[in-house]
Symmetry: C2
Subunit: 379 residues, 2 copies
């Protein structure tokens, strides 16, 4: 039999919680559970044992209770596509407390299977005409508002110079705010404002389900003048994001929203680290930027989580472009200098409610947001 | 403005952890975070405040540390489709520790939006010709085995009378086991065995990604003689399962695999209860049965988890059919009487490795599995 096994492997880092004997057993289980789920003693000598089963490359203590296991798998286990890659890395071990997926290190032969972000940081900057300051964004809210109100907000945000005006993730295709009408009206509002300002603001709608209508809806949005798409991979599936990102007929920047995925990251002894879920996976799925709840809010990620996420947005991954982290959630204009120094210039700063709270004149509030960021960036 | 709000609401039950003041605040936050994510004091009087915002219907103590909150939402918030329903119920509150989604109670106007399981318990029994005993299943393993070996296993399992022979969830479209060839050979093996036995065994392959090829691959599998499909909604997205289940050209039983979803259920103070994720959601997504790690294994659900999951498989949901729980994972033939009494007849008993461990003659082992279940069911 031809083996169809190149011998090339990829590495995955898991953080294990427990004492030394405990974590050794955990690492050995991962090697089996993430591959053959079959007793080694029933397995004949040969290629399955030698190649298919996961291999502990190293197991080193981080502190008294945590260990870092580097486990490698045959690249062929992934079928060279996103769904099976996720399955091969974390399909089963999520059941095991004390196992957290921390990072992955993919060789060129695996990375080649993915286009990654179409725009990335550089492409998005060129599209928006913003060469070096942080990008600024806001969200259309609230759920329940009528299309005409949202289009009015959009016009005023765009007139004030917000770069990215995105739908709130809860806006879908509800009877009180129909999708097609919203997209057309908000895209038109941005077009009108851009003609007045000379800016290149984009409107970024969601793409509501069902999944079999998403490609058509994304193309409708593109045709109507949308400048990007907001996708929740936790709801629609990460490979549906990839499909939308890869489709040359759509060819729009893709923004990641973490809806329905928070459970993966919130318990520190299990699940998936921000670095890999919102950084590395997001890039493989074609996101150009991602929005997440910034540290310091009511319910939010910690500062360390945010650093970890941002690192995942730019860690070298061959030809897969770096992308923008997009901290938001309860942010205010007063925090701009702090956030600038925390995230550097390579960030999308999202202020949603803060722009509405700053007073009744949304154009003036938006201008002030832009000016504060420009000032901070010019220092 | 026409409101497009019927006044109809659906109820969601969350279990909250904390003291009384704490959980009251949590419940109030859920009402906002799962809907408008907007400060109430900036909201004018009117329909958003009156209808769109979540409403605490009750908040009652379960014990000193746990409370049960019944929160209702306008049915229109869901857009009457699966993705936005999940978003409306749990899109954001997963970030909040101490909030676990326990149940949902959907009115007819929402249930009407879903076909649910095409076969359900009764339809699957008719398809398999098994009127009243538990169904029996096994898994094709291990990853790395060649197509000819898997087809050989399939033939022997079918000859021994296993009802459902499913791919291991790790089998996708790997170079060492190409999808199309595997499906054709294994389906042919089942056909051949059925001709000899008169049984109606089905072969249930996975449907590998990418997502844009899944419908085509499912139709190929159907044409080749596959008798069902194994889908991991955590990897492909729950609405992709629904699409495959709803497609009249495919028209095959759908089996749910929990890969990549374990993190949702394993921490008891957060995430999503087995009842709703693997029961109620699975049914809305069109699953006819689901496989999960039975209690009493190495890493597995608890007995209470399994009871909770099974209840979700049959809790009344209008026209949405009840489905089969499918406990497996480290199961042995010795446990059949115990499992029968735990789950009743309405179950798929899955023995994977146990069938291989029971001796070298897979036909004999499979016959014994069937006989033991028939005996237990005739008592």
């Amino acid at each position: 039999m031809k083996l169809h096994l190149s011998g090339e492997r990829f590495n995955v880092v898991y953080r294990l919680t427990g004492d030394e004997a405990d974590v050794r057993g955990k690492a050995e289980s991962i090697c089996i559970d993430q591959t053959i789920e079959f007793p080694l003693d029933l397995l004949p000598e040969g290629h399955i044992r030698d190649h298919i089963v996961g291999r502990i490359e190293s197991l080193a203590p981080l502190d008294g209770q945590h260990w870092e296991a580097h486990i490698s798998y045959a690249v062929e286990n992934t079928g060279f596509e996103l769904i099976q890659l996720l399955n091969a890395i974390f399909g089963v071990v999520g059941i095991s407390p004390g196992v957290r997926l921390m990072r992955m290190d993919l060789p060129e032969v695996l990375l080649r299977a993915f286009k990654g972000p179409r725009f990335g940081r550089q492409g998005l900057r060129e599209l928006l005409g913003v060469p070096d300051r942080p990008l600024i964004a806001t969200a259309l809210k609230p759920l329940g508002a009528a299309v005409e109100d949202l289009a009015g907000f959009t016009y005023r945000f765009a007139l004030g110079g917000i770069d990215i005006i995105k739908d709130d993730h809860m806006l879908a295709d509800q009877p009180f705010c129909p999708y097609e009408e919203r997209v057309k009206r908000c895209a038109e509002a941005v077009r009108r404002a851009n003609r007045e300002t000379g800016y290149r603001t984009i409107y970024v709608p969601t793409v509501p389900g069902p999944v079999d209508r998403m490609v058509g809806r994304a193309m409708m949005a593109k045709d109507a003048g949308a400048g990007g798409l907001l996708i929740c991979p936790g709801l629609v599936g990460p490979d549906m994001m990839r499909q939308l990102a890869d489709d040359d007929r759509i060819s729009l920047p893709i923004f990641y929203h973490p809806a329905f995925q928070f459970t993966y990251v919130t318990a520190s002894d299990r699940g998936i680290a921000h670095h890999v879920l919102f950084g590395q996976f997001a890039r493989l799925a074609g996101a150009d930027g991602n929005f997440f709840p910034n540290y310091g809010g009511r319910f939010s990620f910690t500062a360390q989580d945010c650093r970890d996420l941002s690192a995942g947005c730019e860690v070298p991954m061959g030809h897969i472009r770096p992308i923008f982290p997009g901290p938001g959630g309860g942010m205010t204009m007063e925090r701009i200098p702090e956030l600038f120094s925390f995230y550097s210039r390579e960030v999308i700063l999202l202020i949603g409610i803060g722009l509405q709270k700053a007073g009744p004149d949304l154009v003036a509030n938006s201008r002030r947001f832009r000016q504060l960021v420009e000032q901070a960036a010019s220092l």
